[in-house]
Amino acid sequence: MTPPEVMLAVKVLFGAPVAAILFGFFVMRRVKPEWTHLPILASCAAVTAAAACLAAYTTAKHCLELPVWTWAVAGDWGVAFGLRIDGPSSAILAMVAFVGSLIHVYAAAYMKGDKGFARFFLVFHLFFLAMIGLLTANDYLQLYLFWELVGVSSYLLIGFWYHKESARKAALKAFMTNRIGDLGFLIAVLMMIYAYRSTRLQTVYEFMAAKPSIYTSIIALGLVWAAFAKSAQWPLYYWLPDAMEGPTPTSALMHAATMVTAGVFLLIRSWPIISAVDGLPQLIAWTGALTSLGAAIIAGTKKDIKRILAYSTVSHLGLMMLAVGLGELGTAAYHLIVHGFFKAALFLCAGNIAHAFHQSTANVDETGGLRREMPFTYGCFLAAALSLAGAPLFAGFFSKDAILDAAWHHGGGLRVIGMLIAFGSAFYIFRMLFLVFHGDRKEQSRGGRHPHEAGPEFVLPIFALSFGAVVLGHGSIREWVSNLMTYGMRGVPMVLIRLKPYFDLPGEPALPALNWTVSAFGTVLALLGAGAAYYLTMVDSGWDWRWRGGFAEAVFESDFGYKIIVGWGARAVSWTARFTGRVLDKNWWDGLLESSSDVLREAGNALASSAQGRVNDYLWWMLAGSAVLLGRVLR
């Protein structure tokens, strides 16, 4: 029997955002557009409370599966929409609701005075609602619908300033890339319907436990492909760095809470399917590790502060993928949660800087020494950066070291790559920190602008996020997440058999212990990275400008040449589209149809001239016809 407060929380979880969006769309937007954020912020508060209530419920080792409505019923088949509140969904939902709400608060201040304020907030909240629906979906088809809704909302937000051509292009790029990934999801869903005659999560899990069929590998590959697109992994990562064209709160929401985490969540959800395919987890782990390393290197070369953070997100998502591929779902989810806090904080700090410069983003060329003007932003950025780099006792230390530990135990190349990522992460984030907030370099010029610290409505949400990025490493939080992941999956029959470290424990899962060797290595490498960043930005301060212009810049700007290949691919696709459109369709096919219709028209004209419209002629024709018929009958 479900407690009434849980039922209420479930209703609030969807009712509040839907009501806020409808009210905002039909009433506020017309009556008082600059107040559109008020009902939406109220809805954020309600959703956060509901998410907390559901997290408490699942922490008490309950799971809830709530059928809502069956769609497309055909005989015994149907799509049973419903809610599945279990460990993975409620743990990530709690983070999404909390972080997302703080970003909403920030956005209210950041977007004030923008022409499209009402539109921004409505789409922003729709994005949030889509992610809530995705996390609580009970059925793969339902998950797919919200998955697409997330994609559409991100498209609308990236292209929010549609008067900029770069924003329109970036939005299209993000949307198209995600469509390529979604194709995999669609194939997987169709295969599920074909093979299992159901898309319900629990039913699919039970099928997987009973008899993995040959369709399993197709389904699993499709889901992984979709997750790679959404979570910005190689080969489909390239949309994310361009998605910076949207307003900064969009980037924060997309990178921390709503968009890119969906892919990791899908893999956690689909782990029973994925782990049944030989070699696929290893593929995920290696792709994640290599993407992470590559993105960490490129993040250390970028000039645009939001672009640095975007590559950092790709890198951290790669780490999560690495954890998922190694079967450490709890670690992946924990890093996802911690990452949500520090990445949101970093992005909002970047938003403060952009706001201070009255631009949509800022460049390291025009910043430098900002800690004097923006001490509070600096403090929050420093805390989040330390967390990201894995400074001991910060939250990122525990989450990242858990992943490095998993890679360490796996051994081989992953061990080395994990350590290189630790070095790279510390390097790029401290390079950014020093270049933006420290120093007084002759290469940097503010162009006569005088940045100022943002007001309290800007810094308070950032402060809350940085605080989370610092304290979330506390043992109780780690234990809470790993418990949630275990109990959440416990309703899944075969998972207990197949899953490695976290899930084969018969009793209470222990708090993931720190591996001191790994932690020591990781910390030393992070220190080395930070030291290298210090040397190359503060001691040899012109380094960043010296290496540019040559071959090295071409290599890094093109993501080791991959962007060129993608460009060829895109050109090939558009050339094929033009060829089919202009030559095949317009010239050949249309030409064929038009000439055949010409033939028909000419024949009609020729025949028409023989018909003079005289009644007696028709009578003769009739007579002739009757004679023929009569002849046939009498014969």
Partner: protein, 100 residues
């Protein structure tokens, strides 16, 4: 001489005359008369063959044909009247709206 042969000859020539009138004449009223002539020929032939084969159904068909002929005459005359009133005479050669 055989009665059947006489009936065949009479009704056949009546039918042929009616057909010729319908197909060769252009005057609408004459064409209608030709039609009536064909129907009458068929009726006479039917009556004779009903007696020949002791078949009452043929007589029922005759009654139906008479009714149809009456209805046809009414409709046909009304149409001819409309055509005449439109001021184009009652001649089939002017009704060429179906010209291609």
């Amino acid at each position: 001489m055989n009665l059947t042969a006489v009936v065949w000859a009479t009704t056949g020539s009546l039918f042929a005359i009616g057909l010729a009138v319908v197909t060769f004449r252009r005057q609408l009223l004459a064409m209608l008369l030709g039609l009536e002539l064909m129907l009458a020929a068929v009726n006479v032939a039917l009556v004779h063959h009903a007696g020949l084969f002791d078949d009452a159904e043929a007589l029922a068909v005759v009654a139906l044909v008479i009714a149809v002929a009456a209805a046809e005459a009414v409709v046909g005359l009304a149409l001819i009247l409309r055509v005449r009133r439109s001021g184009r005479g009652a001649d089939a050669s002017v009704l060429t709206e179906l010209r291609g």
